[in-house]
């Protein structure tokens, strides 16, 4: 486990190396590239501001999930730009996101569109599941018991399975 660097340039190096984690969170919680960039900036700011509290007890990447998800779920709001209504069908979802990251793998694009109307917490669970996080890490990130994390993860797996048909 690496000890945390104390200066800005070293922090930026870490941020650059792990930026895909933030991109994934942004892709899950936003509807277009402008919002994606806004949220990316906000997560970067929050990471940097709380960096002095990062003690290196967990991996930098694990810590990023926690700060990133907290920012996406609780702090970041672009209500006016969002369509908060439930998508009526797949066609609606694809219209909503048609200009968002068109070069992403078509299977992943399908996945992102499908989970676009999931609740904020369910999106976090999907992310942690797909990232292969252990139950104890999921429990720690979300602040729930390991048993509860296991139950929630099973529910999400079932939901994803159903989606895959």
């Amino acid at each position: 486990m690496m000890s945390p660097p104390k200066n800005e340039s070293e922090f930026v190096v870490l941020l650059e190396q792990h930026q895909n984690i933030i991109h994934k969170i942004c892709r899950l919680y936003t509807n277009n590239e402008v919002e994606h960039e806004d949220l990316f900036q906000e997560i970067s700011i929050q990471l940097w501001r709380s960096y002095d509290r990062f003690e290196g007890k967990s991996k930098f990447s694990t810590w990023m999930y926690r700060v990133g998800l907290n920012t996406a779920i609780t702090l970041y709001r672009k209500e006016k730009k969002r369509l908060n209504t439930q998508p009526l069908n797949d066609q609606f979802t694809s219209i909503q996101q048609e200009d968002y990251n068109p070069k992403v793998d078509e299977h992943l694009e399908w996945l992102y569109q499908k989970i676009n109307h999931f609740s904020e917490i369910d999106k976090a669970l999907v992310l942690l599941y797909l990232e292969n996080k252990r139950y104890d890490e999921i429990a720690e990130t979300l602040g729930i018991s390991a048993v509860n994390a296991r139950v929630k993860m099973n529910r999400i797996k079932e939901r994803l399975k159903k989606m895959l048909g």
């Binding site: 800005e8 340039s9 930026v12 190096v13 941020l15 650059e16 930026q19 895909n20 991109h23 994934k24 892709r27 806004d38 990316f40 900036q41 906000e42 970067s44 700011i45 929050q46 940097w48 501001r49 709380s50 509290r53 990062f54 810590w63 926690r66 700060v67 998800l69 907290n70 920012t71 779920i73 609780t74 702090l75 970041y76 709001r77 209500e79 990251n101 070069k103 992403v104 793998d105 299977h107 992943l108 399908w110 996945l111 609740s119 904020e120 917490i121 369910d122 976090a124 797909l130 990232e131 292969n132 720690e140 990130t141 979300l142 602040g143 729930i144 797996k157 994803l160 399975k161 895959l164």
Partner: protein, 206 residues
């Protein structure tokens, strides 16, 4: 895509076209945050300063106490004023405590709980203020109709008690409405983003 294993593989392989350079990331760290909790605390400080400055900026502020004195409500008006300041200081302390406690490095559940506690504090602050304002306005009106000679005159001109009550009701409703609007626009702006969190917290606890 057939199964979850394949889905995970695809997920692990994904690459984002846009990769930020060190220079761009450095620039991000200097941008303004949209973090809303701190603004609730800053607003309460601003409100406190406005209350403190009220006697300086409002020429009728001191005179209004002379009027309350004429209604034999001087002690009551001082009591309400001091209670208002105590309430404000108490809630400022609560906002500050939450502001310090809220950190993005805590777990999602803890984070949501602290945010909701801030929201509750703002709501309680609003209702406490409305209550205080309502009590004060009603007491002053009732006493004014008993003791203010210009208002007693109205009664003598055969204006019925019901009409007077109606007028008092309208004035009180207007004052409270304006107060509510002020809070809606001042604090409501910062509370709105926090509203949805209640549902999320419930889901985590299920």
């Amino acid at each position: 895509m057939k199964d979850l294993k394949q889905l995970k593989e695809k997920w692990a392989q994904q690459n984002f076209e846009k990769q930020y350079s060190k220079e761009e990331l450095n620039g991000f760290l200097r941008k303004k945050s949209t973090y809303s909790i701190k603004w609730i605390f800053y607003l309460s400080i601003a409100e406190f300063l406005v209350y403190m400055g009220l006697p300086l900026f409002s020429p009728n502020y001191i005179e209004s106490f002379a009027y309350y004195k004429s209604l034999q409500l001087f002690g009551f008006s001082i009591f309400i004023t001091i209670t208002g300041y105590i309430l404000l200081l108490y809630f400022m302390w609560r906002f500050f405590k939450n502001y310090r406690k809220i950190t993005v490095t805590s777990s999602v559940k803890e984070h949501l709980s602290t945010i909701l506690s801030t929201r509750r504090a703002v709501n309680q602050y609003f209702y406490a203020n409305v209550g205080l304002l309502l009590i004060f306005t009603l007491v002053v009106f009732v006493r004014a109709f008993q003791m203010d000679s210009s208002l007693i005159g109205l009664e003598q001109e055969d204006i019925s008690f019901l009409v007077i009550c109606f007028v008092i009701g309208i004035v009180v409703a207007l004052v409270l409405g304006l107060y509510g609007l002020l809070y809606y626009f001042v604090y409501g702006r910062f509370l709105k983003p926090l509203k949805r969190n209640e549902k999320e917290l419930r889901q985590l606890n299920q």
